[in-house]
C-alpha cells in the first residue's frame, strides 16, 4: 500500500480505530471470502474438518472416500505440521489428495488453501474436503471459506471437551462423536457431551460414528451428499433467476 492510501489521521493524541476495523484476522478473512466466491462460482461444497490430533479424521476420510468417491467427484486437502503421511493414506483409497505441510504452524490459514487450490485441478469437482491440523484451539479462529465446519470428538478424548474448547464447537455445524465402538470400555457419556456441545452451540448437529464398525458412516456420507446437492440446487436457483 502506498502512503497516499494510508490514513491521514493526525498523529497526535489518541485515535480510536473503531471505524477502521483493524481486525487482526482481516487478511485471512479476506482470502476466505475469495475462496467462498470461487467455490460458489464452481458449485463446490467446501467442508472443513477439525478435531484434536488422533481423533480419527484421516481414517474417517479414507472410509468416506471408499464409499462415496464413485458417487461424487471429490478431492481432499490435508494439513499437518510435517510429513506427507496423511495424503499418502488418503490416496491409497483412490481419491486425489494434496498435503499441505505447515512447517510448524498449528492451523491452516485461508492463504494456504488458496495456494493449494492452484496445484489442484478443480474441474468438475463437487466436493472439496479440508482436513485441518489436529488441534481444537487455533483452527477455530481461521475461516477457510468453508460452507460447513465439522468437528470430530473421539470417545477416547473424554466427554468434557466442548466447554474446554468452546469456540471450535460454537463455529461447527456438525459434531461427530468418533470411535463409538470403544464406548463400552470408556467412561464417556454421549448424552453429557451432546448437552455440553448444545450449551455452547444450540444448533449443532450430532452423529455417532465408528470407522471401525461402520456405525453412522452411511448417515455421515449421506449428510455430505445432501450438502453437495444443496449447493448445486442453490446454484441452479440462482442461474434460473
Amino acid at each position: 500500500m502506498d502512503k497516499a492510501a494510508k490514513s491521514s489521521k493526525t498523529a497526535r493524541g489518541t485515535v480510536a480505530c473503531d471505524n477502521t476495523t483493524l481486525h487482526l484476522l482481516k487478511a485471512n478473512d479476506f482470502v476466505a471470502e475469495s475462496i467462498r466466491k470461487r467455490m460458489a462460482e464452481n458449485n463446490i461444497m467446501l467442508i472443513n474438518i477439525t478435531s484434536s490430533a488422533g481423533s480419527g479424521k484421516t481414517t474417517l476420510l479414507q472410509e468416506t472416500a471408499r464409499r462415496i468417491s464413485g458417487k461424487v467427484k471429490m478431492k481432499i486437502l490435508v494439513g499437518d505440521l510435517e510429513t506427507e503421511r496423511d495424503a499418502d493414506r488418503l490416496r491409497q483409497t483412490g481419491v486425489d489428495a494434496l498435503q499441505i505441510v505447515t512447517g510448524g504452524i498449528c492451523h491452516l490459514e485461508a492463504q494456504m488453501i488458496w495456494q493449494a487450490m492452484e496445484s489442484l485441478n478443480l474441474d468438475g469437482v463437487e466436493l472439496l474436503i479440508v482436513e485441518n491440523v489436529g488441534n481444537l484451539v487455533c483452527p477455530a479462529s481461521f475461516d477457510l471459506g468453508e460452507d460447513y465446519r465439522v468437528t470430530l470428538l473421539a470417545t477416547t478424548e473424554g466427554d468434557d471437551k466442548p466447554k474446554k474448547y468452546p469456540r471450535m464447537f460454537l463455529t461447527s455445524e456438525l459434531m461427530l462423536v468418533s470411535k463409538s465402538d470403544l464406548l463400552p470400555y470408556l467412561p464417556f457419556s454421549v448424552e453429557a457431551v451432546v448437552a455440553d456441545a448444545r450449551d455452547v452451540n444450540p444448533n449443532i448437529d450430532v452423529m455417532q460414528i465408528s470407522s471401525t464398525t461402520g456405525e453412522g458412516i452411511d448417515q455421515w456420507c449421506n449428510w455430505l451428499l445432501d450438502k453437495v446437492k444443496e449447493k448445486q440446487e442453490a446454484a441452479n436457483v440462482v442461474a434460473a433467476q
Binding site: 498523529a11 485515535v15 480510536a16 483493524l22 487482526l24 450449551d199 444450540p202
Partner: protein, 114 residues
C-alpha cells in the same frame, strides 16, 4: 497458540494503516481480545515483546490488552446477557441462544501517538 504470528500481524496491520512518520510517534496500542478469541493476554504480551525486540521495530510502544466478555443478544426479549461457563442461553427467557454480539474480538481499537 499463534500469538507470535498475531503480534506480527498487529505490526503489519498498523504499517498498512499509518505512515512510517506517524508510526514513529506511536506510544501505545490498545488491543481488544474477546474471551472467545483463543488468545491468552499474557502470552500475547510476551509475543509482542519478543517480536518487537527481535525485529527491532515498535520497541517504544506499549501494548494494552483489554479482555472482552462474551455477550449475546436475544431478539425475543430485546435483552443482552453476559455468558458465564460457556452456557449460551438468554438470561431473561432461558432459551438457548448463540447470537454473539461481543466476545470474538481480536482487534486494535485504539492507538496513541505522542
Amino acid at each position: 497458540m499463534h500469538e507470535i504470528s498475531l503480534a506480527r500481524s498487529i505490526l503489519n496491520t498498523l504499517e498498512a494503516e499509518f505512515s512510517s512518520e506517524q508510526l514513529g510517534q506511536l506510544t501505545e496500542i490498545g488491543l481488544k481480545v474477546g474471551l472467545l478469541s483463543n488468545v491468552e493476554p499474557a502470552l500475547m504480551q510476551n509475543a509482542f515483546e519478543a517480536v518487537t525486540t527481535t525485529e527491532n521495530r515498535f520497541q517504544q510502544v506499549v501494548l494494552k490488552i483489554e479482555t472482552v466478555p462474551i455477550v449475546i443478544y436475544c431478539e425475543a426479549c430485546d435483552a443482552r446477557s453476559t455468558i458465564a461457563n460457556y452456557k449460551f442461553a438468554c438470561s431473561s427467557c432461558g432459551q438457548p441462544n448463540n447470537n454473539i454480539v461481543s466476545g470474538t474480538e481480536l482487534l486494535i481499537h485504539q492507538v496513541r501517538f505522542e
